[in-house]
């Protein structure tokens, strides 16, 4: 394709994983190799897209050359590209982690074969959603993501996983249908479905209904309290790489769409913004308490996702309606921070479980085998999730509190502080178990140090820590193409 005047990176970013998924499905014996190649080449395409966005601003592809609203446009601006890069980066390391987690001695052949097509279809949907500029197309992408994610949830084939996956599917499909109903109301009022049409729209009753329906659907999909009921079961019972993808990436899509819509739709009045923040605060408290009570390591990590989603909504609401022009950046930074750190943490938790043989928190200090590097990784990602400097989580929380302070909204600062203390408390339950290694006086087992498989989560955790230093360029990058909707 070298004779092309310009390679169309946005299209390739969506189609490469799709082709990879098909190849990996058709040739199940080579699934892992093909899958890895597809993930890496997708990441390369994303890197090229990042360079292009840096050089010339937002990139638009008019599929079929019809142009919106008749056709569908793909648009890569700073925020989209940042999330694409996040997906690609997390995806590479989770894929590497999966090579170990689904190694022949740990997983049966079916798990090993079907993980790759499902994960690549998920990647197709994620990339497609981040590039979409059309709300019906977003619905279709949500469907692709939902089915692939349900497949990943039940990957282990255990009964609890299947049950949690079914519950997840009900929630997910209900959320998608609510979103679709909102899309219907938008078309009823505006007669078009592209973002540009939304920006130009005058407030109308049908649009209010549409916003209400779409936000309700998205909140259900992002598991904001009290609609989080499906998340802990689904994320705790999936296998570790699948949990990392579900918690790190999948819930981010609905958050991203939510951020976009609040920029485009003639919506948010003060009351709605405050309601989002209040639900976020409730999620922080309730999730924190449940994480303190959790008996299993992976369940604790899953509840911490509920907390972090609440935090993202608090960041969104930190300075009320007037602050929305800035607040989305704090929310986006926290999305990024959580994706990287949580993927690392789930992979590390999976490694610990693989080595120790169980993940009961109270017995973690009684094991012969101490996977120290995995424990270290877990601690590093906990630092980012708690929000200690210099991590990315710290940068996000700092932005949150700075904005809240400037607007005089002290209650959001109080909520963030309480959330931080709670997260210190529940992560300490785990870390204490790692440190008290004198409880069992027996010869130390074979894997007391590290294994090559620890590399992937460790690099992710280190990036979560180190990216905090790059917060300023990241913030500058995500503003490329802002305000959204003005043509590039």
């Amino acid at each position: 394709m070298t004779d092309l005047p310009r390679i169309d990176w946005p299209t390739l970013v969506v189609f490469m994983p799709l082709m990879g998924a098909m190849l990996a499905f058709v040739c199940p014996r080579q699934a892992a190799g093909l899958g890895l190649v597809a993930v890496l080449s997708t990441a390369a395409a994303v890197a090229a897209l990042v360079l292009e966005v840096l050089a010339q601003g937002a990139v638009v592809t008019r599929l079929g050359n019809w142009g919106a609203p008749l056709g569908i446009d793909l648009r890569a601006d700073g925020l989209s590209t940042l999330l694409l890069a996040m997906t690609a980066g997390v995806g590479i390391f989770v894929s590497l982690g999966a090579l170990d987690s689904y190694a022949p001695m740990r997983a049966d052949a079916r798990t090993r074969r079907y993980f790759w097509p499902l994960w690549l279809l998920l990647l197709t949907g994620l990339n497609g959603a981040f590039l979409s500029t059309d709300i019906f197309n977003l619905y279709v992408m949500l469907e692709v993501i939902a089915l692939a994610a349900v497949g990943l949830t039940v990957l282990s084939g255990r009964r609890e996983a299947v049950r949690a996956g079914l519950e997840y599917m009900y929630a997910s499909i209900l959320g998608a249908l609510l979103f679709l109903m909102g899309v219907g109301f938008v078309y009823l009022e505006l007669g078009r479905l592209d973002f540009a049409g939304l920006i130009a729209a005058e407030p109308a009753p049908a649009l209010t209904a549409a916003v209400a329906l779409m936000i309700a659907g998205l909140l259900l999909k992002s598991a904001l309290f009290p609609l989080h009921f499906w998340l802990p079961g689904a994320h705790a019972n999936a296998t570790a790489p699948a949990s990392a993808l579900l918690s790190g990436l999948v819930v981010k899509v609905s958050l991203y769409i939510f951020l976009r819509l609040t920029q485009y739709m003639p919506l948010p009045d003060e009351l709605l913004v405050t309601l989002m923040g209040a639900l976020g605060a409730a999620a922080i408290l309730w999730g924190g308490i449940q994480a303190l009570r959790a008996e299993r390591l992976k369940l604790l990590v899953a509840w911490s996702t509920v907390v972090q989603i609440g935090l993202i909504f608090v960041a969104f609401a930190r300075a009320g309606q007037l602050g929305l022009v800035e607040s989305w950046k704090a929310a986006a930074l926290l999305i990024l921070a959580h994706a990287v750190a949580k993927a690392a943490m789930f992979l590390a938790a999976g490694r610990i479980k693989d080595e120790v043989g169980h993940d009961r928190i109270r017995d973690l200090d009684r094991s012969h085998i101490r996977p120290t590097l995995a424990q270290f990784t877990f601690a590093l990602s906990a630092i980012s999730l708690i929000g200690l400097p210099p991590s990315l989580g710290f940068a996000g929380k700092w932005m949150l509190m700075e904005g809240a302070m400037a607007a005089g909204y002290w209650h959001w600062i109080a909520v963030t502080m309480i959330g931080t203390l709670l997260s210190v408390a529940y992560f300490s339950r785990v870390l204490a178990g790692f440190l008290r290694f004198d409880r069992l006086r027996t010869p130390v087992g074979e894997h007391q140090g590290w294994a090559l498989a620890d590399a992937a989560p460790l690099i992710l955790a280190l990036s979560a820590l180190g990216l905090g230093l790059a917060a300023a360029p990241i913030l500058a990058f995500m503003e490329i193409g802002y305000p959204f909707g003005t043509t590039p």
């Binding site: 394709m1 004779d3 092309l4 169309d8 299209t11 189609f15 799709l18 082709m19 998924a21 098909m22 499905f25 058709v26 199940p28 592809t61 008019r62 599929l63 079929g64 050359n65 019809w66 609203p69 008749l70 056709g71 569908i72 079916r110 079907y114 097509p117 499902l118 279809l121 197709t124 949907g125 497609g128 019906f136 197309n137 279709v140 992408m141 469907e143 692709v144 089915l147 349900v150 497949g151 039940v154 990957l155 084939g157 009964r159 996983a161 299947v162 996956g165 109301f185 078309y187 009823l188 009022e189 007669g191 078009r192 109308a204 009753p205 049908a206 209010t208 209904a209 209400a212 329906l213």
Partner: protein
């Protein structure tokens, strides 16, 4: 003088609501499914009355025919499970009813306050239809203007069948009592007819209601008949072909979309001279994939070596 069709519409509306209530109220699961199928057929009729024959065809073929078959198959598998529903307290029921009523009233107000005059995208579609390669506006939208959406809808089907092949392993080999036989003589008579209908639906889509999804659903009925009459029994050796069948449509569709993007064109921008040929090619392979995938969804599991107890002479 009332329009006789108006009376028909009113009756249809009442019947739809009554059927919906009946589906929810009836206790017997088999009756529930049958009522749901009738409900689906009535919905298809309603779509016809709303001048949306494409949606009506899809509703009848997929929403009613195939979904009904899937539900009956599921019922067969869970027949052993206790049917008694978990009792729900009256308070919860009323709270739910109140909440739903509020949502309904809110949406109804929003709907009533909207003028239904907005032209939508129909004028633009009409304006560009000559360049699309087909004469039927719905096909033009699905296979050209918004082909990207359609491609991704087929991807959803692929994700579904992979997920189903995954999940089934978690369930211990179902005590699959035989699902009842379809008389082979009937199958032999019906099969050619269904093949003709499916192909016709696909072909006619270029200028009249019909198309890949409807044709695919009709052809999937061929698969169902073959499975139910025992004329075809999935073997482990057939898995590679099945996999190819699932991805064929997407592979061709995506390749065409990318390959046309040369010589200054964009992805999905079919050269006008070949648009009709390309669209027919895409529809043809997508129909095959949809038919194979839907039939495989009905079969509901990856073909494994079949236990001796299940093989019947």
């Amino acid at each position: 003088m009332a329009d006789p069709l108006l009376i028909f519409d009113a009756l249809l509306g009442v019947a739809l609501i009554a059927l919906a209530i009946a589906v929810l109220v009836v206790r017997d699961r088999f009756a529930m499914i049958v009522l749901f199928i009738i409900f689906g057929l009535m919905t298809a009729l309603a779509w016809v009355r709303l001048s949306a024959p494409d949606v009506a065809l899809a509703e009848a073929a997929i929403g009613t025919g195939l979904a009904g078959a899937l539900m009956l198959k599921t019922l067969h598998h869970i027949r052993a499970a206790p049917a008694a529903p978990v009792p729900v307290s009256v308070g919860v029921v009323f709270a739910n009813m109140g909440f739903c009523a509020m949502v309904f009233v809110g949406l109804a107000i929003a709907f009533m306050a909207t003028s239904l005059e907005a032209p939508g995208l129909a004028p633009q579609v009409a304006q560009n239809i000559d360049a699309s390669g087909v004469a039927h506006p719905v096909t033009a939208v699905l296979l050209n203007f918004r082909a990207y959406d359609t491609l991704m809808e087929v991807v959803v089907l692929l994700a579904a069948i992979i997920a189903v092949w995954m999940i089934e392993r978690g369930i211990e080999q179902a005590p699959a009592r035989h699902l009842g036989e379809i008389y082979r003589g009937f199958a032999r008579l019906a099969l050619p007819a269904i093949v003709v209908i499916g192909t016709y639906l696909l072909w006619v889509g270029a200028y009249a209601p019909g198309g890949a999804f409807q044709g695919g659903a009709a052809l999937a009925a061929v698969g169902l008949l073959l499975l139910l009459s025992g004329l075809y029994r999935p073997q482990p050796a057939h898995r590679p072909i099945a996999r190819l069948g699932f991805v064929l449509g997407i592979a061709v569709f995506a390749s065409v979309a990318l390959l046309v993007a040369s010589g200054g064109r964009l992805p999905f921008e079919y050269p006008p001279a070949h648009a009709k040929t390309l669209i027919l090619l895409i529809e043809g392979v997508v129909t095959i994939s949809i038919a194979v995938t839907l039939a495989a969804l009905f079969h509901g599991r990856e073909p494994e070596a079949i236990p001796v107890s299940e093989t019947r002479a």
